[in-house]
């Protein structure tokens, strides 16, 4: 396509320079151009939350953002979370221990939102009552994801 633009972004600490059509979604750029397929697309419409990534410190639905809008951004995807530790981020550990995932398709988006909330000290109550309701999971009935939130927030709230 002739109208491609250059998009420079840093994803999980690595610099990418991409040529994208203006209509290319950030989710598509991450999955297809950066080959970071851990970010999933469930609706391409902003409803399900599966595509959530962290853009310049904010949790964003990557299907609702154009890649060109992310030019110059620092992005974190599921592949970057907990990569610096042996056991993973406390949210990842808690999700595993509480059996907070089944098919795993919604998981990356939920983990990204929870990691963002965890880092920003959002209260357990708000995470359970607000943040989690922005995600759809068809497998778990959410019960064990709430358990995982409880577990991951214990330490956080104890430190306050």
């Amino acid at each position: 396509m002739t109208n491609e633009r250059t998009v420079e972004m840093n994803v999980n600490g690595r610099d990418y320079s991409l040529r994208c059509e203006p209509r290319r979604l950030l989710s598509e750029a991450l999955r297809e151009d950066c080959r970071l397929t851990g970010t999933h697309v469930g609706c391409e419409q902003g409803s399900c939350g599966a595509c959530t990534v962290i853009v310049d410190g904010r949790a964003q639905r990557s299907c609702l953002m154009l890649a060109v809008q992310a030019d110059g951004s620092n992005i974190e995807t599921i592949e970057g979370v907990g990569a610096d530790s042996e056991t993973g981020h406390p949210v990842q550990i808690a999700m595993h221990q509480a059996h907070g995932l089944q098919c795993g398709f919604c998981t990356a988006g939920i983990v990204m939102s929870l990691v963002h909330a965890h880092r920003n000290g959002i209260s357990r109550q708000d995470v359970t009552k607000e943040v989690l309701n922005g995600h759809l999971c068809r497998c778990t009935g959410y019960v064990n994801i709430r358990q995982a939130i409880d577990a991951a927030w214990v330490e956080l709230e104890d430190n306050k």
């Binding site: 397929t37 592949e79 059996h99 098919c103 068809r138 994801i145």
Partner: protein
């Protein structure tokens, strides 16, 4: 027999979570083979019409278009329907038909360098369609002057069948009963909404063989269909199910658009990917239910349930899905539930309309059966002024009466239905009700769920054209690690953990040394179902136990030779074969090495340690549960909140209680969704009104309360290992339980007819409409 139980029954954390938590799962859309092209599907914009033109003149030359004529050149047969009911004339369904019968029906395929370009090109295809009159509602489709979906046939009824007792017998029982009650239940059309949509990547090779990677529950069944309709040899087509983001029954067969993708890859000679988007999923991935049940129940003044008679019409959609009218047939089979009846009769009709096919969805008819029966029982309790649990327990089959043959020719195996019901009632009543002026009610559902469906001859007897067995292949590699190949195909159910739990115990090895292989027609035994119908742990697990027992015997034989002891005295624990009562032992990996060398093998064993077992069960298994919940209803808005939820569940021997609880949670969420909010709707022109996740409401966390679960554990008398299977049970229980609770909260509301989902509008209306007292 296993010598130690180290893993079975333990809450072992799932072994494959890591890839999902770190983004390294491999779903279909994550594949990117070299040279790949992308497809978009051209679909019918109308609900009924004849396609007379498919004009590609405006399509850019960078895209390849295959219309109905080009596609038809590659097709040798129509799509199979594997379940044939009495009086069913549609035994295959038309593939590539130019009679368009529902919005979204695939017509052609466009292939280009990217999905966006393929979609752009697809928009340039000009369709010429002659409109035909449309019928959407199944009852309207029964009218004598209704438009006919298949003009060659004289009615829209695709099949009509009877189940259970004869008309004479049911008449007799109803005449003798003290009283009868009538109710009409409309069961809304739903969509399973797996979070990952369908999709496939087809890689052709110059030799003519194909590798198809697809988001499916059942790789073998996809291969069956592809080879059947395209005339390909099964040993040249490999179907692989990679990580799959949920199925719930929807991904139980190969779809027409998927077959088009296969044809496109063959024609172009390059890999082609097609990934369904959410809108396409709502339009063209099988829907479910959409039934109207006229229900009549007969009972005595002392509370004895006498008879249940159901006349049900199911909207089949424009054509049968692969399991045809099976869900309604299955519903009638389990209609008796845990109660003793003098007569049960079902009369079912499957009706064609200008809508998407309805097919399998978690519960496969058993969810509807639970609603129909449990509503009827609640109406009886209300009519008699009886406590709903008390009346249920009075009529339940007692433990000493099991095994018990129902009026629908099913034999229940084992359990204690009464204890589950009483315990659930106790638990749900424990917390005090808040005193905030809200209207509240408690609802129950007691069900017996047919799981572990088989055996093969029973399938044949009920018109189901596929086998009921599962096969496992267990082998020890020369280093002592274990590979278990299974025909079942996990996509969230945790079988990667639970089947190795069973195998590790049988072989006395560490679970870390056991690897499950699934979802690949090249490396796994044939399975007609894959993972579906709550069969996997009973049949996939059962076959793995039996194959492992054969391998364990081989290990004992070889170890006996190595240790100069009798194989009967060898115990397999902790990775070692030990002579009982001594500390004389050899590591199992040494035994595996010896067997792989073939040195000094005992008579009839090896070389190698390897066994395969096809397990065709003597009977199906029957899980059961009582669900109980408390709801609060805001009568001003019709809004329902499920505040508390209890499940007392018995699925036989539990391999991993944590995974069972996870299945219950997810099942309850889906049953609750269908009870309160989920509904696929069409307008009168057959245009879909629920084609996004904003229109079709799936429960969010706020909709689902915490769920209190207690287990009972009555082993299956049949399954090796005693497991019964349970994946659909949560859905079966929750649907009726939530509906009953809402109706219990509105004791004065007119309940002569019911329409699910109980949306706020419907609840508000019911609350306004007082029942007529007779």
């Amino acid at each position: 027999m296993k010598d130690l139980n180290l893993y079975t029954g333990k809450r072992i954390a799932r072994r494959n979570d890591g890839s999902f938590l770190h983004g390294s799962g491999q779903y279909t859309d994550d594949l990117d083979p070299a040279d790949m092209l992308h497809a978009a599907i051209v679909r019918s914009p109308v609900a009924n019409g004849t396609l007379i033109g498919f004009d590609v003149a405006d399509v850019p030359s960078t895209a390849t278009v295959l219309g109905p004529d080009e596609l038809a050149e590659h097709v040798v047969g129509d799509l199979p329907v594997v379940w044939k009911l009495e009086g069913q004339w549609q035994e295959r369904t038309p593939l590539l038909d130019t009679h368009l019968r529902y919005v979204g029906q695939p017509i052609g395929i466009v292939v280009a360098a990217s999905r966006a370009l393929a979609e752009d090109a697809a928009e340039k295809v000009i369709l010429d369609i002659v409109d035909l009159p449309i019928v959407v509602d199944a009852l309207e489709a029964l009218a004598p002057d209704a438009p006919l979906l298949y003009p060659d046939s004289n009615s829209n009824v695709l099949a009509a069948f009877e189940a259970g007792d004869t008309e004479d017998h049911i008449e007799e029982v109803f005449a003798a009963a003290d009283r009868t009650l009538l109710t009409t239940i409309h069961i809304g059309r739903v969509h399973g909404v797996p979070m990952e949509n369908r999709g496939l990547v087809v890689v052709p090779s110059p030799s003519g063989s194909l590798i198809i990677t697809t988001s499916t529950q059942t790789a073998h069944a996809v291969r069956d269909v592809v080879c059947e309709v395209l005339g390909k040899r099964q040993n040249a087509v490999r179907v692989v199910a990679p990580d799959v983001g949920g199925g719930f029954g929807l991904k139980d067969h190969g779809y027409e658009d998927e077959i088009m993708t296969v044809i496109a890859a063959v024609v172009i000679g390059r890999p082609v990917k097609w990934i369904e988007d959410r809108n396409e999923s709502f339009l063209t991935t099988t829907h479910a239910r959409d039934e109207v049940h006229e229900v009549e129940v007969a009972f005595d003044f002392d509370g004895k349930l006498r008879g249940l008679r159901v006349d049900a019409v199911r909207n089949a959609g424009a054509r049968f899905s692969i399991f045809g009218g099976g869900p309604l047939f299955a519903a009638f089979g389990v209609l008796p539930g845990p109660y003793k009846w003098d007569a049960i009769r079902g009369y079912g009709r499957l009706v064609a309309t200008n809508t998407m096919s309805t097919g399998a969805y978690r519960g496969f008819g058993q969810t509807q059966a639970a609603l129909v029966r449990e509503r009827a029982v609640d109406l009886v309790a209300e009519a008699l002024g009886r406590d709903p649990i008390d009346l249920r327990v009075q009529n339940m089959i007692r433990p000493e009466e099991l095994p018990y043959g129902t009026r629908t020719f099913i034999e229940y195996d084992s359990g204690d239905y009464q204890s589950a019901a009483l315990r659930a009632a106790e638990l749900i009543m424990e917390p005090a009700w808040p005193e905030d002026g809200k209207v509240r009610g408690v609802g129950y559902c007691c069900y017996v769920q047919m799981t572990g469906i088989g055996n093969s001859d029973t399938n044949r007897a009920i018109g189901l054209d596929i086998g009921g067995f599962e096969t496992a292949d267990v082998r020890l590699e020369p280093d002592g690690t274990v590979c278990v190949a299974t025909g079942v195909s996990p996509h969230g159910q945790g079988l990667e953990t639970t089947i190795p739990q069973l195998v590790a115990d049988e072989l006395g090895v560490n679970i870390d040394d056991v690897q499950l292989i699934w979802g690949d027609t090249e490396t796994t035994p044939y399975s007609a179902y894959g993972t579906a119908a709550s069969r996997s742990i009973a049949l996939g697990g059962g076959s793995a136990v039996l194959a492992s027992q054969k391998v364990a015997e081989q290990i004992r034989q070889v170890a006996g030779t190595m240790l100069e002891a009798s194989p009967d005295d060898i115990r397999l624990t902790d990775g070692a074969a030990t002579v009982a009562g001594t500390n004389v032992s050899v590591l199992i990996r040494e035994v595996a090495k010896r067997a792989s060398q073939g040195f000094g093998m005992p008579e009839g064993v090896g070389p190698g340690l390897h066994a395969r077992h096809a397990y065709d069960p003597p009977n199906a298994t029957f899980s059961y549960a009582t669900h109980a919940c408390r709801v609060a209803v805001d009568v001003a808005t019709g809004e329902v909140v499920v505040e508390d939820y209890v499940v007392v569940n018995d699925c036989g021997v539990m391999v991993n209680p944590t995974i069972i609880e996870g299945q219950i949670h997810g099942g309850v969420a889906q049953g609750l969704g269908a009870a309160l909010m989920e509904e696929v709707l069409y307008d009168n022109n057959g245009q879909p009104l629920s084609s996004t996740m904003l229109d079709y409401q799936v429960p969010v966390s706020a909709s689902i309360p915490d769920i209190r679960i207690e287990h009972m554990e009555t082993p299956s008398p049949f399954t090796p290992g005693g497991m019964k299977g349970m994946g659909e049970g949560g859905t079966n229980g929750a649907y009726a339980c939530v509906v009953n609770a809402v109706m219990a909260a509105l004791p004065d509301a007119d309940n002569s007819t019911l329409h699910t989902p109980l949306t706020p509008a419907r609840v508000w209306e019911a609350a306004q409409k007082r029942k007529q007292l007779d």
